[in-house]
């Protein structure tokens, strides 16, 4: 899991600048310039990782969230492509479509042009588009660190649920009468 970083301005500036290198153990690493996050790639190359990273962010843009959250999706797609040759081919061909759409690598296009390119793929019913879109909905929003950004607290049973932790703490409306909402039972 990439490291969680807090400096919003810094990673906005860096967005889309990730690099690829072969690490000491022979693993291919994909990381941002100051190495605040890195993922390991098994089968995707640098062009593929950069295009997919840009695609995931263009699909589900959250300006306050850094590339490391989107890199989780790229890592998951890479892992799936390693297991499944069909997925590998789909991604490889799809990256070709992305990078071939406007004479520049997809990651170097403006956000507006990237959106246009993706709209064109979607309109054609492109399976690569749907694959990456589905994977992003699943992996990006299934990240506990991303949940914090949305104010979602996740698993609660280990804290005794919300019975004594704010399940009825909304203060901007009066409490409903007891016949509609009886008092809680604390045991």
């Amino acid at each position: 899991m990439p490291k969680y970083i807090l400096d919003r301005r810094k990673f906005l500036k860096r967005s889309g600048q990730a690099l690829l290198a072969v690490g000491a153990a022979g693993k291919v690493m994909f990381f941002d310039p100051d190495r605040s996050w890195a993922i390991t790639l098994e089968v995707l190359d640098e062009a593929g990782a950069r295009a997919l990273l840009a695609m995931t962010r263009t699909l589900y843009p959250h300006p306050a969230l850094g590339d490391e959250y989107y890199a989780v999706v790229v890592e998951a797609l890479d892992a799936e492509a390693k297991e499944n040759g069909e997925v590998f081919r789909l991604l490889k061909e799809g990256v070709g479509k992305l990078d071939g759409a406007r004479h520049l690598p997809f990651a170097d296009l403006s956000p507006g042009t990237r959106t246009e390119v993706l709209e064109e793929l979607e309109a054609r019913g492109d399976p690569f588009f749907q694959k990456v879109r589905g994977a992003t909905v699943f992996h990006f929003y299934n990240n506990k660190l991303v949940w914090r950004h949305f104010g979602y607290e996740g698993s609660s049973w280990e804290y005794g649920g919300y019975l004594e932790r704010g399940f009825q703490d909304l203060g901007w409306l009066p409490d409903p009468p007891p016949e509609a909402s009886p008092p809680p039972y604390f045991g």
Binding site: F150, G151, Y152, G161, Q168, L173, S181, Y185
Partner: protein
């Protein structure tokens, strides 16, 4: 726990351990009848449950291949997931939100009350509310339903608070935390609810009723239950006289077994139950078992549903506490002046961020969509559940070419909305929107139906054998020792969440089976 021999033809075989099958098995065992309960899924414990939407989904959802067709949006967005139901001991009672509502009297006689609705295959139930009332009472007692007997209602959470005020300002009268089979006080050796907020993922403390930790262990304690998990039934066999003789299933090790039976009860939910009957076709029954009416698999209903989520200027944190925390019942009556027959309930609902991303607007992307999600902690939400029209063309059929892991044809689920369903949903969206605007909403999202949780009607109950598959006790018209024991027997769907009715029918069916056995009729 008991073990019965494969060639023991004195046992009752129940297929499926959910609200229908789990309850029926226990009721039969309590009456001294030996039961082999075959469940396709694994047995989970409370310790196995996780407060994590996708992890729990992959732990318990029925994910065997299914296909879809028709104009419903599910066929486009979730073509292989028509239904959101479970493959685990306890079936969908592990996942259910636990709203436990009785049908209204008129909902048992919709053909008489609603009249002839073009395109709808309406039929009166061969059963009245009055006849079912004592069984409803026993079901509520069994399940510990709140606001019945002396059990208080549950406390409302933040989501309910918003819902309540909007509803009251809109003029609704019957608004409260509902009749829920979640303990508001300790009951039946299970604790009171801790407002954990993951009812759909399996209740970690067992405060919510599920056959997994109520009916099934009680049945085991009688010494008359032989529960076989990861036992996937392929077909039901019969003799030359047409009586069923037992079932062929694949066991945990992948071996085919044949379990003999005196009686077979099918309780596999409204997709798998008709599929099993259709997959059991033989020379004697070329159209599938119990299908002389041609109605097996037909009249598939899934309730007219949809959700409304609204954004408020101040935080709500709707995910804290019971997933379904309150109800408006004012729209449940039949009032054709609204432009449709039948009625609907409004019930609060909450999804976590992972499911909200998947279901808020399936297929949507881009900044307009992500901006909505960023409002998550300011959202309140409700679910619409209304009576949909039975239509003969809405059907579970066998796929002509696709096969499952055992080589059996997979089910295809076809659904088109009836004009009455559309009119009802539009009315409910308007009312849901008005409710939240009355509470001060700054944005409202109309959310399309999720994969179906209320699957009904595909082996419907009828007075006359030509109109349906089973009689008033769930006994098939064609085969005396073959019963259907789940929501597929619903003649029509009502506006209410179906589980309480499924449980009441199972209790009643157990009495009938025991009586028929003791008389030597079966």
């Amino acid at each position: 726990m008991a073990r019965f021999a494969l060639d023991d033809d004195s046992v009752v075989v129940v297929i499926g351990s959910g609200a229908g099958g789990g309850t029926l098995a226990n009721e039969l065992c309590q009456k001294g009848i030996n039961v082999v309960l075959l469940e396709a899924g694994k047995r989970l414990t409370l310790d196995d449950f996780v407060n994590d939407e996708w992890a729990a989904f992959f732990q318990m959802a029925w994910l065997d291949k299914r296909t879809t067709s028709g104009s419903w949006r599910i066929a486009r967005d979730f073509p292989n997931l028509p239904a959101w139901i479970c493959k685990t001991v306890g079936g969908t009672t592990v996942h259910w939100a636990s709203a436990s509502l009785r049908f209204q009297a008129h909902e048992f006689k919709t053909r008489s009350v609603y009249g002839d609705i073009a395109g709808a295959n309406l039929l009166d139930w061969p059963l009245t509310l009055e006849e079912l009332e004592p069984y409803y009472a026993r079901a509520e007692h069994k399940m510990g339903t709140t606001r019945t007997e002396d059990r208080p209602g549950l406390p409302g959470n933040n989501n309910f608070k918003v819902f309540y005020h909007g509803a009251r300002r809109l003029g609704y009268k019957v608004v409260h935390t509902g009749r829920m089979s979640i303990n508001s006080r300790p009951y039946d050796d299970r604790p009171a609810c801790r407002q954990i907020g993951f009812c759909f993922q399996g209740c970690k403390i067992g405060a919510k009723w599920s056959t997994l930790y109520t009916e099934i262990p009680k049945a085991e304690a009688t010494g008359r239950l032989d529960l076989r998990t990861e036992a996937h039934v392929l077909r039901i066999e019969h003799d030359r006289s047409g009586k069923v003789t037992g079932v062929v299933y694949v066991d945990r090790e992948g071996r085919q077994q044949f379990q003999k039976a005196r009686i077979v009860c099918v309780a596999c939910n409204s997709i798998e139950s008709p599929r099993l009957l259709l997959n059991s076709a033989s020379n004697l029954f070329p159209d599938g078992l119990a299908n002389s009416s041609g109605q097996v698999g037909k009249n598939y209903m899934r309730h007219t549903t949809g959700s409304v989520y609204a954004v408020f200027p101040q935080p709500v944190h709707m995910y804290r506490g019971t997933t379904m925390a309150g109800i408006v019942m004012d729209e449940a009556k039949n009032n054709p002046r609204r432009g449709f027959v039948g009625g609907y309930e409004l019930e609060t609902l909450s999804l976590g961020v992972p499911f909200m991303a998947a279901f808020l607007d399936p297929g949507a992307w881009g900044r307009a969509f992500t901006r909505k999600l960023e409002n998550y902690s300011y959202m309140a939400g409700l679910w619409i559940v209304g009576e949909d029209m039975p239509q003969e063309s809405n059907a579970v059929t066998l796929h002509p070419t696709e096969k499952d892991q055992y080589g059996m044809p997979v089910p295809n689920v076809h659904y088109d909305d009836h004009p009455n369903d559309i009119a009802m949903r539009e009315h409910a969206y308007r009312q849901g929107r008005a409710l939240y605007e009355a509470a001060g909403a700054i944005e409202v999202y109309e959310v399309p139906p999720y994969p179906s949780t209320h699957n009904l009607g595909t082996n419907r109950m009828s007075e006359k054998p030509r109109d349906g598959v089973v009689n008033r006790f769930g006994q098939t018209h064609d085969i005396r020792n073959l019963f259907i024991s789940d929501g597929s027997v619903f003649t029509t769907g009502g506006a209410e969440n179906p589980t309480l009715t499924i449980v009441a029918l199972a209790i009643r069916q157990a009495e009938y089976i025991a009586d028929q056995m003791s008389r030597g009729e079966i």
